[in-house]
């Protein structure tokens, strides 16, 4: 029985604040394959293309036939827990702050023995477990063994909560609550147990259906916030920056246009001003303070979510300037991710396909409902992944892009 997480008490400012530390993050290049898969929520191991051996730890060649044709392939992770220990004394400052820390040794059904972080719900040895890959606080892929069947309060395991960004009992800022997507995200967060959601709004005169009802929810606090205004961002960061555990940047400007379809750059500039510079303004004001609070108790600062677009991977000419602004934001988000990783705050990029909103009216289905997008974002937080591609269109684009970016460029430019 896993004790459920309790709502944290108000922070006692007299007591010592735990500073952000990271678990050991150095990896060989070969081992980063585990991280790359875990960032997408997958557990992959090296499989030899010549002889089929599944191997771990990662190597440069197959240890069976010495072939260099190694492929990272998704694994079920089923195996037997053959030994366990609980570390009470660690040489590393991160773990020293967090002991006792459970570890296991699992013989995977596919062959290798793996050392894993051990979920508290796993039955004593010998028992069947499922091994999965997570990103730890350093942003590197690690293995964790889970019970085969869901157990109550599964996500509340303290070790797992170090790997995830679960919104439960956390305070969240959603930068734009006046869009359908923003509202769906707010409701999704509240359903997931968020303690408080600050809902940003930029244009007070604009009356949006549903906004008044949202504002009436007890967990919601409205916050005037205009990402095109540096002073507004700075003021709001000064007011709530030290309390935000999760920041979800849902603000975006979207005009359906290419280059020749409109003269002048005003619309494109507005897109860049929110989609790119808005992110930069937010990152400069909220980033450092969030990073400094990344280990501050059970409900520390933990994640930063960017609403990008699948068009960030490859320009979609009929939404060409929007695509460009999202590509700029993607590049900046990688910089932000590198900087936030130093404190252990995860940067999650969301690459949706076309959302079923006013700016995609002319596009054919399937289109992503705001509710589905919100659900994908909440799940990404719960799973602690780095990149998600919600919706059928995004999935298809991703598959084509992974196979050949150049081919995709030609395919979408007809």
């Amino acid at each position: 029985m896993i004790p459920p997480l309790l709502r944290p008490k108000r922070k006692n400012p007299i007591l010592r604040t735990r500073l952000p530390l990271l678990p050991p993050s150095s990896r060989s290049r070969a081992a980063l394959g585990l991280t790359a898969a875990a960032a997408l929520g997958r557990f992959e191991l090296q499989v030899c293309g010549s002889c089929g051996i599944v191997q771990y730890p990662p190597r440069e060649v197959c240890h069976g036939c010495l072939s260099g044709a190694l492929h990272w392939r998704e694994q079920s992770g089923s195996g037997e827990l053959i030994s366990t220990t609980t570390v009470h004394l660690s040489q590393d400052p991160y773990f020293r702050e967090r002991v006792p820390w459970r570890l296991g040794m699992v013989r995977l059904d596919v062959g290798p023995t793996v050392i894993v972080h051990l979920h508290v719900g796993c039955a004593p040895v010998p028992s069947r477990v499922r091994v999965g890959a997570c990103l730890d606080k350093s942003g590197q892929g690690v293995l964790m063994a889970f019970p085969i069947d869901e157990v109550p309060n599964m996500a509340d395991d303290t070790q797992l909560r170090e790997m995830t960004c679960d919104p439960k009992f956390r305070k969240v800022l959603v930068t734009d609550g006046k869009t359908d997507v923003g509202q769906a995200i707010v409701r999704g967060l509240i359903a997931a147990g968020a303690d408080l959601v600050w809902v940003g709004y930029a244009e007070p005169w604009k009356k949006i259906p549903g906004f008044a009802a949202l504002a009436a929810l007890p967990q919601v606090a409205l916050l005037p916030l205009d990402l095109s205004d540096s002073r507004s961002v700075k003021e709001m960061a000064g007011e709530i920056g030290g309390k935000v555990d999760i920041l979800i940047n849902s603000a975006e400007v979207h005009r359906a246009q290419g280059i020749a379809s409109r003269s002048g750059i005003e619309a494109a500039r507005a897109e860049m001003d929110i989609n790119y510079f808005g992110l930069l303004r937010l990152a400069q004001e909220f980033g450092p303070v969030m990073r400094s609070r990344a280990a501050d108790g059970q409900s520390s600062a933990t994640a930063w979510v960017n609403l990008l677009s699948i068009y960030a991977l490859c320009n979609y000419p009929s939404h060409g300037t929007f695509s460009a602004s999202k590509a700029a934001a993607l590049s900046l988000s990688q910089c932000l991710r590198a900087e936030m990783r130093a404190g252990g705050v995860r940067v999650i990029n969301v690459f949706p396909g076309p959302i079923d909103d006013e700016w995609n009216q002319t596009l054919p289905p399937p289109k992503l409902t705001p509710e589905a997008l919100a659900k994908a974002i909440v799940n990404a937080l719960k799973d602690g992944v780095e990149d998600i591609y919600p919706g059928d269109v995004a999935q298809e684009w991703l598959a084509r892009w992974e196979e050949s970016p150049k081919t995709l460029e030609r395919e979408v430019s007809v």
């Binding site: 678990p23 050991p24 993050s25 150095s26 990896r27 060989s28 070969a30 081992a31 030899c48 002889c51 089929g52 051996i53 599944v54 771990y56 730890p57 990662p58 240890h63 069976g64 036939c65 053959i82 030994s83 366990t84 220990t85 609980t86 570390v87 009470h88 004394l89 660690s90 040489q91 590393d92 991160y94 773990f95 002991v99 820390w101 570890l103 040794m105 013989r107 596919v110 062959g111 023995t113 793996v114 050392i115 894993v116 972080h117 040895v125 730890d136 350093s138 590197q140 690690v142």
Partner: protein
């Protein structure tokens, strides 16, 4: 799906014996918990002690075998200039707990073949305050990728897995391991260089601070700085110099044995013990003392089994029916082993060899094993991921038996 094919195991069945090559001058550079000196300092002091013990000059040493983890960026070659020695045979053996046995094997052959006349075999390491923690993350690529990020418990966590598995599988108890640790501490009380100088009771052992369950404080060695060394030369040379010597009856070495075992419960000794004893012309029952590689007591139990003193899984019963002190029915780690003497890096791979030579040449510092004629020193080490990869052993005897 493919599987790793069973390796063809070669035995050393045709290898030559070590007639006419002997071991002399067992020395120890006393251990300290922390040192501000570099490993070079400990190597130099080991060499100086070897020369003093053997009445030789630096110019007489024409071979050097060095085991060390903390020389970086130097290796053995840098030490020749550092120490001002000119050698015609040089070996660098950073194999931790196996470096003594491996160095010994190579040096014996070098002297036997005439490639060197006198080889100084030295295991030495320093230990600064933060050395141990730093060594954990840089020990191996596998450790960095797949062990250190998991709790950073170091070898304690790795051996906790093995110990826990062994206890569950073979019914060993904490008391069984405690008996080994308590007996070794008793042996250490007679050894002036031991880091631990206070008697250990079984109650203290059982009640000690939890480190990584089931490992508690007194299951763990204390990392420290120090050196162990001996010389390899021809019997003729040793006799001419009037140096007491020990003879090597047989040795073995094996790396990455049993890679398909899900978790380590045995080492390469299992593959090599038959030849080891037949080459030595001895049976396990003939052995008068055993210097196990005791980085954790479970490894002593595994080595006792794998070297044929009892069957696999009978280690606990074997321990229960024997007394393990120098005056006991099965003396082990007669100078206290690493558990009581301390683990001075690669010197730990030499500790049992050096103590064996002392026991068999009557140069004892620790208490004497009565009428000891044959001893076995064991090497084990290098957990690069989930198991110790190296295993080795050497059976030594008195000059005249």
């Amino acid at each position: 799906m493919g599987a790793v094919s069973e390796p063809r195991l070669t035995t050393s069945g045709n290898s030559r014996d070590y007639r006419d090559v002997v071991l002399v001058a067992p020395i120890t550079v006393p251990y300290v918990r922390y040192s501000i000196r570099s490993a070079h300092w400990f190597v130099a002091h080991a060499l100086a002690r070897l020369l003093k013990e053997s009445n030789l000059n630096k110019a007489d040493i024409d071979g050097l075998s060095l085991g060390s983890f903390t020389l970086a960026p130097d290796t053995a070659i840098g030490l020749t200039q550092h120490l001002g020695i000119t050698v015609r045979w040089l070996d660098h053996v950073p194999l931790g707990g196996a470096c003594g046995i491996v160095a010994l094997r190579r040096a014996l052959r070098a002297v036997q073949a005439g490639d060197a006349e006198v080889v100084a075999c030295i295991g030495a390491d320093t230990n600064h305050v933060d050395s141990f923690r730093q060594s954990l993350g840089s020990f191996s690529v596998f450790a960095r990728d797949a062990v250190f990020p998991y709790g950073s418990g170091g070898p304690n966590a790795s051996f906790a897995f093995l110990t826990s598995y062994y206890m569950r599988t073979f019914g060993a108890t904490r008391e069984d391991f405690g008996k080994i640790c308590v007996a070794q501490r008793d042996n250490a009380l007679g050894y002036p260089h031991a880091m631990f100088k206070k008697r250990l009771t079984l109650e203290e052992y059982l009640g000690a601070r939890l480190i990584a369950d089931p490992i508690r404080l007194f299951d763990c060695v204390m990392p420290c700085a120090g050196a162990e060394a001996f010389l390899v030369m021809t019997r003729q040379r040793a006799e001419a110099l009037g140096l007491p010597y020990a003879i090597v009856r047989a040795t073995c070495e094996r790396h990455n044995a049993f890679p398909d075992d899900p978790i380590q419960i045995r080492g390469g000794w299992v593959l090599d013990r038959d030849h080891l004893y037949s080459a030595a012309g001895l049976e396990p029952a003939d052995i008068d003392f055993v210097e196990t590689y005791d980085d954790y007591p479970v490894m002593s139990m595994i080595q006792i089994e794998d070297l044929g003193f009892c069957e696999k899984g009978e280690g606990p019963a074997f321990i229960r029916r024997h007394s393990l002190t120098t005056d006991g029915t099965f003396p082990i780690n007669t100078s206290g082993g690493q558990l009581s003497a301390g683990q001075a890096g690669c010197a730990a791979g030499f500790l049992g060899l050096v103590e064996s030579i002392r026991q068999l040449t009557d140069r004892n510092l620790a208490r004497r094993v009565p009428e000891a004629r044959f001893g076995i020193a064991v090497g084990f080490g290098m957990i690069t991921y989930d198991r110790g990869l190296c295993s080795g052993a050497a059976i030594l005897s008195r000059a005249a038996v």
